[in-house]
């Protein structure tokens, strides 16, 4: 069916030119009816939506309608120009344009427009009555995103509520996490061996959430290395990340009361290109004989190159990323891996700051809500009830 439609469609294009010279009025299909033009909902204000009832020969009658053309004019009796075309069977069209005034395709808002729809067969056409006027205007709230709005509010309230509970001194329990317990041992090992610690923040930018979570962890680890008087090396692949890492490590040394031991040249930039960066880090691992390697942040294909080279050097390795595709390689090749969400939790675990632990509790509450919705939603869906599904459905 689809195939025939496409073939007809391409023939139409060829015959289109013949059609102009041989109008055959007696063959024209019944025109589309009930044409309506109105502002497109939930948009920036540069589009009008046109709907119509299909021609009597589209899918029924002679079944020879192949497409609809949508025409626009600024006056009901003015010259109509073609704005677009849709294949037969469709009954809506969004006439869209650019929002920049200097753009050739600019669509002015708050201006009257008239539309008509033309039903086309291979060699004839018929036009609907004129619809309009309609104006395009921008909305101030996207109704399709209401579920997200509710989610945003609810989650924000949960996080703030738990944080204020924490401020009031409520203590929260969190279960032990293997990767976290290993951090202290790993730093201790480097101290015993008298070898440096390598900390890799990944390939993310300073604005990636995973990188920011990693900064907090770096801060805690820097404090511990300062206490142990162990050298920490942080090669970076983004200049802003480098700047932030310098501040973070410095703050860690301040917290430990040893600002004098901080050496800026140990937190440096190499290059922003993925594999050149990896080549250089590989070299650092083998030449500096790092005792402990941390890989925490955003990682891509390089994850396994780093982890295997580190294992050749005999380093203890602790990894963590929210990049799902790379977790398997970290799990296989490093000693401990913080999987996905555990990376975000790690900063709260290491610092034991009540405020950060509070946010962790809010995450757990949200997770419980998600799990309950999941389970009850699936049960409801088995009985063809889609209430839960609609709660989570976002229209873009």
């Amino acid at each position: 069916m689809k195939k025939t439609k496409a073939v007809l469609f391409s023939i139409l294009i060829i015959l289109f030119f013949f059609n102009l010279s041989f109008p055959q009025e007696n063959l024209s299909p019944p025109p589309p009816t009930e044409v309506r033009a109105s502002d497109t909902q939930n948009d920036n204000g540069h589009s009008i939506t046109i709907t119509w009832k299909l021609s009597g020969d589209d899918g029924a009658g002679k079944k020879n309608v192949v497409a609809y053309e949508i025409l626009r004019s600024e006056l009901p009796t003015g010259e109509f120009v073609v704005r677009g075309m849709v294949p037969a069977g469709n009954n809506t069209y969004q006439d869209r344009g650019a929002k920049e005034k200097e753009d050739k395709n600019y669509f002015p808002p708050h201006k009257d427009f008239y539309y008509k729809v033309r039903a086309k067969t291979l060699n004839s056409y018929s036009e609907s009555e004129v619809a309009g006027p309609a104006q395009a205007y921008g909305e101030w709230f996207h109704l399709g995103k209401l579920p997200v709005f509710v989610g945003t509010l609810a989650f924000t309230i949960m996080v703030l509520a738990f944080i204020s509970l924490a401020r009031k001194g409520k203590e929260f329990y969190v279960r032990p996490l293997a990767g976290i317990d290993a951090v202290d041992d790993a730093i201790g090992r480097a101290t015993e061996m008298g070898r440096p610690i390598l900390y890799i923040l990944g390939l993310g930018s300073a604005a990636d959430i995973a990188t920011i979570a990693s900064f907090t962890i770096l801060n805690r680890i820097a404090k511990k290395t300062a206490e142990h008087k162990t050298k920490i090396i942080v090669p970076c692949n983004d200049p802003i990340v480098m700047s932030v890492a310098q501040e973070t490590v410095k703050a860690g040394y301040l917290d430990a009361g040893r600002p004098d031991m901080y050496k800026e040249e140990n937190i440096f930039y190499l290059t922003s290109m993925q594999f050149a960066y990896v080549a250089a880090v590989n070299g650092i691992m083998l030449r500096e004989q790092t005792a402990t390697n941390f890989y925490l942040g955003k990682f891509y294909a390089e994850s396994l190159i780093l982890a295997e080279t580190g294992s050749v050097a005999g380093s203890i390795q602790i990894s963590g990323t929210d990049e799902i595709a790379q977790i398997p390689f970290f799990v296989a090749a490093t000693d401990f891996t913080l999987i996905g969400e555990e990376l975000y939790a790690a900063s709260a675990y290491l610092g034991r700051e009540p405020l950060l632990l509070g946010a962790l509790k809010a995450q757990d509450l949200a997770k419980a809500i998600v799990m309950i919705s999941l389970a009850s939603g699936a049960v409801a869906a088995s009985f063809h009830l889609d209430f839960f599904l609609r709660l989570f459905t976002v229209q873009m």
Partner: protein, 280 residues
């Protein structure tokens, strides 16, 4: 240290050596492996077979040298197929390197004896319109006007002057779109900005890493067919009856996969054997 213990703590350089051999050696042989054509590749092939000779096929190469091993054989086999079937090829790239990759694939295909006999001509049988910046916006603009989006071809000729481009205004004049993709922008954008609004018929080849993300579009019918990784490329070559690079490379794949499986098995054998000894 006895043999088993040595095996257990095998120097990884021995594994490296074996892998290198397992990949390199099969390249010297042409072995006809049995490769079954999966439905997703079969569907793509069927859709192409349904195109009458003279149909215009748009090929978008959206990758760079990093993905060459997987996608270049797909580009070559597709060009070969089009020339053999007399389908007209219009090449573009959403990645700056795409049109360059196309040229190096064409160089090889145009020198094959079967194709030489057909003697395809630039501007009549195939054109390379080059790269235009703008990612998915390029697809959107092509929907209204292809010659405006690509005013000149790769070598600087005016697009309007190319015989093949006469009468090609927008997607309505294109019979099939084939996209080779290694990420963004790529197949996802072609589906969202080409298939959905303009109802183009789309087939795609993807890197193996990328392919699982594309599967939902196959199930929903937005995508006609998909070649996933080197294996998909090999299946397409089998389907078209012209086994070439991908099929040849698949022999290396099979041998190296088998080698890794073998290593895992002997590693576990050594692990069990030494543990039993310790237990006793």
């Amino acid at each position: 240290m006895n043999f088993l213990e040595k095996l257990l703590a095998l120097d990884r350089r021995i594994i490296f050596l074996f892998i290198a051999i397992a990949v390199a050696l099969p390249l010297f042989f042409t072995v006809k492996l049995h490769i079954e054509v999966t439905p997703v590749v079969r569907n793509l092939h069927n859709a192409l077979e349904a195109l009458p000779p003279g149909s215009k096929v748009l090929v978008s190469l959206d990758y760079d040298p990093g993905s060459m091993p997987e996608l270049q054989p797909m580009a070559e086999s597709f060009f070969r197929y089009c020339f053999m079937r007399d389908l007209k090829i219009i090449i573009i790239g959403l990645w700056p390197n795409g049109p360059i990759q196309a040229n190096s694939a064409l160089e090889i295909i145009l020198n094959e004896p079967d194709i030489k006999k057909k003697n395809p001509k630039y501007g009549i049988d195939y054109v390379n319109l080059g790269y235009t910046a703008g990612n998915e916006v390029v697809i959107e603009r092509m929907g209204s006007d292809i010659p405006v989006t690509f005013p000149k071809d790769y070598s600087g000729n005016k697009t309007e002057d190319l015989l093949l481009m006469k009468g090609v205004k927008n997607f309505n004049n294109i019979d099939f779109v084939y996209n080779l993709s290694a990420g963004y922008p790529g197949t996802v954008e072609w589906v969202l900005f080409g298939v959905d609004p303009y109802k183009i018929k789309l087939g795609a080849g993807n890197t193996a890493v990328q392919a699982p993300q594309i599967y939902p579009y196959l199930n929903s019918g937005q995508l006609v067919g998909l070649l996933g990784g080197m294996k998909g490329g090999a299946e397409f070559e089998i389907a078209t009856g012209k086994p070439a690079k991908a099929v040849k490379f698949m022999f290396s794949q099979s041998v190296s996969h088998a080698l890794i499986c073998f290593f895992i098995l002997i590693g576990n054998f050594a692990y069990f054997a030494t543990r039993k000894k310790k237990g006793a």
